[in-house]
């Protein structure tokens, strides 16, 4: 905590500086609000319009969380399966890569056609978005274990399961968290995209409406809300990472 406070002031300064430049620029060049609203206008709308987008926000958070949990669990699970069962890996690894190459935004409308307007197509979208970064990172992390430790485990007669849980999994954790961080950020975007597929509520809906009534200030509010949301998410994952890989942070402290 103290760490954040201590280190936090520099980036905060940079951000504040950026905002000041932006505010001054919009005033000096008299940029109309529909083109680029000034930060003060955006903040104004963000505060006064809270009641307007509050329920949209909750709905998006919920969708993001569910999608993220399903998507990453699925990604990790698939990575583990592929890693542990070479036959399956040979069969499906290329397909996983394929899966990522499916253009989600293109596919999304088709998903609705096939699965209707319920939760299912939305969750599929978020899952697809989260799935790839986490699956690829996890797989890479699992494969890059130290040969020395691997030799020990094999010689000691560790079963594949043991090699996995005691060596490969802890070794892959940093890599997995790398992927989780990326997925966390993308899942929010995935939720917004999936809301465009047809939803009654959500930041995605709020934004579409704002954009179609040329309320650029509201579009910015939704951009900031989305950013805030995914940042919060990112920080949560980082905190979890710190907790799970504390042996590493301990190491870094001492190697001063």
């Amino acid at each position: 905590m103290r760490n954040i406070v201590q280190k936090g002031w520099r980036p905060l300064l940079v951000i504040i500086l950026l905002f000041v430049i932006w505010e001054v620029a919009t005033r000096v060049f008299e940029i109309p609000a529909w083109l680029i609203p000034s930060p003060s206008q955006v903040v104004d709308e963000g505060i006064s319009g809270w009641s307007v987008y509050e329920h949209h926000l909750y709905s998006t958070i919920l969708l993001t969380l569910i999608g993220f949990i399903i998507g990453t669990s699925f990604g990790i699970l698939v990575a583990i399966c592929l890693h542990l069962i070479p036959t399956v890996r040979n069969m499906f690894y290329p397909l996983i890569i394929f899966s990522q190459n499916i253009p989600i935004i293109v596919l999304a409308p088709l998903l609705v056609i096939w699965f209707g307007f319920g939760m299912l197509p939305k969750l599929i979208v978020i899952t697809l978005v989260c799935f790839f970064p986490i699956a690829v990172s996890t797989l890479d992390g699992l494969r890059q274990t130290s040969t020395e430790l691997m030799h020990y485990m094999k010689m000691a007669g560790a079963s594949n399961g043991q090699i996995f849980w005691k060596l490969e999994w802890p070794h892959a954790l940093p890599s997995l968290f790398s992927g989780l961080k990326i997925s966390a950020t993308y899942s929010v975007m995935g939720a917004v995209i999936s809301e465009w597929l047809g939803a009654k509520e959500g930041i995605g809906v709020y934004m579409t409406l704002a954009s179609s009534s040329f309320r650029t200030d509201r579009v910015f509010v939704s951009i900031f809300v989305i950013m805030a949301l995914s940042l919060t998410f990112f920080l949560l994952i980082t905190a979890l990472e710190k907790w799970f890989i504390r042996w590493k942070s301990k190491g870094v402290e001492n190697s001063g």
């Binding site: 000691a156 007669g157 005691k166 001492n254």
Partner: protein, 245 residues
Amino acid sequence: MAELSLTGIAKSFEDTRVLEGISFDVHDAEFVSILGPSGSGKSTIFNLIGGLYQPDEGDIKLDGESIAGKRGSISYMPQSPSLFPWRTLLDNVMLGSEIVGQQDREASLQMIEKAGLGGYENAYPHQLSGGMKQRAAFIRSLLSPQPLICLDEPFSALDEFTRLEMQKWLLSLWSEYKRSVLFVTHNIEEALFLSDRVMVLSDRPARVKKEFKIPFERPRDESLLLTEEFLEWKKAIYNELRMIT
């Protein structure tokens, strides 16, 4: 029971023959050492017994069953400590037995104490000195329950006293539990002090150049190291090794 026998083992890495026609036995409850020049193939023999590699020729039997390419039949201490950076000393030490499913926290803590690592139970490997890591790896292999222990230069990073301490401890454990031990070292005194038999390997490609049967009575004592007989044996092996290199 642990009767190990190697017959006609050969192994090459990328066209360089490392081992050639290696045959020897380790009888039940026997203590056998392997001496040989650096790079001759001692660790490779361990890797073959441990099933990490398949021998190109020959067979490896434990209690009459072939274990070539079969893993988990030995408790093993590698030449480099190979501790897991994310585990504390205690967790590292218990790993070998954990794999077999027989953890004993109490015994582990006692062993750690005995190896002079008391107080470091919760330290991570990077907080330990080289010798401390080696001792941790040594305890880890002792705590594994397999009847054949393979130790690859377990005491090379230890000062003379800690080393003697460890050797005596190893002997006492060995005489108590009667496990078979295969021991790689490059220290002739150590091999003599500990073993029933000493095998000397030739340079690449390695063969068993000569086998010495060590007649000293057991239990052995530090004082043995200073006896005339010991020094003569040492000279004999020394000369044998000198001829190789």
